[in-house]
């Protein structure tokens, strides 16, 4: 991990490229996080890639309901020679959930981004193959959103069996 000072140095480099790129940094429990505006996500990722964070360990989607903007995407980046990790975070509103895809930088982002699209409905612009990956192709909605009904099947128990037609004792 970069320490808190190292994190600020990285953030300064990102700000040097684009003054409005970095929305904030946080250093919490030894985890360095940089939040960037979605418009600058790709340039920030390219800068970090050039700095040595050549491995995208994982990519996640988050629904921050009821906070706004609701949807978030996290990229966990790893600098393998220095064993140095940093989290790149961006948030988009649910009305325009467009995030630039990072498949061009890390090809391994392809399937994780498809999963984030499937579960949360984040649209990755310029993704080579943005389809559902887990749910059926004709599924409607994005089930990991917090306002999506949990669904499921009603279950019959002894305490409610009397209400079922045809189940009289």
């Amino acid at each position: 991990m970069p320490d808190a000072t190292g994190l600020e140095l990285i953030a300064q480099d990102l700000r040097a490229a684009d003054a409005d790129a970095v929305l904030g940094t946080s250093f919490f429990r030894e985890e360095a996080t940089i939040e960037v505006a979605p418009a600058f996500l790709r340039t920030a990722a390219e800068t970090l890639h050039a700095k040595g964070y050549t491995f995208m360990a994982s990519c996640h989607g988050v629904d921050y309901y009821p906070d706004e903007p609701r949807l978030g995407v996290h990229y966990q980046l790893l600098d393998m020679p220095n064993v140095d990790r940093v989290c790149l975070k961006t948030r988009v509103p649910i009305e325009a959930p467009n995030v630039p895809s990072l498949c061009g930088i890390w090809p391994g982002a392809n399937h994780p981004e498809r999963e984030v699209f499937d579960m949360l409905g984040v649209v990755f612009d310029e993704h080579p193959d943005l389809r559902r990956i887990l749910m059926p192709e004709d599924y409607e909605g994005h089930p990991q959103r917090r306002d999506f009904p949990i669904g499921g099947e009603p279950v019959l128990f002894t305490y409610n069996e009397d209400k079922v037609p045809g189940w009289t004792r």
Binding site: G152, V155, L156, F157, W167, R169
Partner: protein, 222 residues
């Protein structure tokens, strides 16, 4: 003429052998002959005989879905040894199998595949829903899983999460009873029910008035 069946005495083997010899020689006549025939021949219908054979030689399909499949595999091993009942030959092709054990949760993406495998099996065929997940969706009672009764007929549900191998074997013996035509009605006798009945809410308000959704405080009576 009335004949009564009598239990065969343990030490009467030699005497019965002599009777059989006399029968073959033509020396046995009258009531003695009738009694010997009655004790030696079993009459049944073809259906019953065929079902007896079917129930004792089922071929399950080699088909595991999730963690229940580990328990399903272990029923073939020495401890439970389902070979005692002639069920041990797991077939790799649904064309050669006549029993589908749904061992695990079925996701809505997997359900068409399971249904297709079931449709490929030759009749007569049976299905066991093993465990809570594929019977009632269990702990995965959410958008992703579908209960097996929704898309295919199930003969026996084995509860548990996952059921122990002994529980699955108990379910298998229940299915054997059912195939052989002497299945106990079980809980259906108590409710006067036939088959499995679905419990749904109003058509326009799915789930709202469903009788089997927890309402506040209701679980205290459960």
């Amino acid at each position: 003429m009335a004949l009564t069946r009598e239990p065969i005495e343990p030490g009467s083997l030699r005497a019965r052998q002599l009777l059989a010899r006399d029968l073959l020689r033509g020396d046995l006549e009258g009531l003695e002959l009738e009694k010997h025939v009655e004790q030696s021949i079993l009459t049944t219908t073809l259906d019953r005989a065929v079902n007896w054979a079917r129930g004792n030689s089922l071929y399950p399909a080699t088909f595991g879905l999730a963690c229940c499949a580990i328990e399903m595999m272990s029923i073939v091993a020495a401890r439970v040894d389902v070979a005692r009942f002639g069920w041990e030959a797991f077939r790799a092709s649904p064309r050669q199998a006549d029993l589908l054990i749904l061992s695990g949760r079925v996701s809505i993406k997997m359900a068409p595949v399971v249904r297709r495998i079931y449709d490929q099996m030759l009749e007569p065929r049976w299905a066991i829903a093993m465990g809570a997940c594929c019977s009632s969706m269990g702990v995965f009672n959410n958008y992703a899983i579908v209960p097996a009764d929704k898309f295919m007929p199930i003969d026996v549900h084995v509860p548990g999460g996952p059921p122990r191998p002994e529980a699955l074997m108990h379910g298998i013996l229940k299915l054997r009873d059912r195939i052989q035509g002497n299945a106990p009605a079980g809980w259906r006798e108590r409710y006067g029910a036939e088959g499995t009945e679905e419990v749904l809410g109003e058509a326009d308000l799915p789930g709202v008035n469903a009788v089997n959704v927890f309402q506040s405080g209701e679980t205290q009576r459960a």
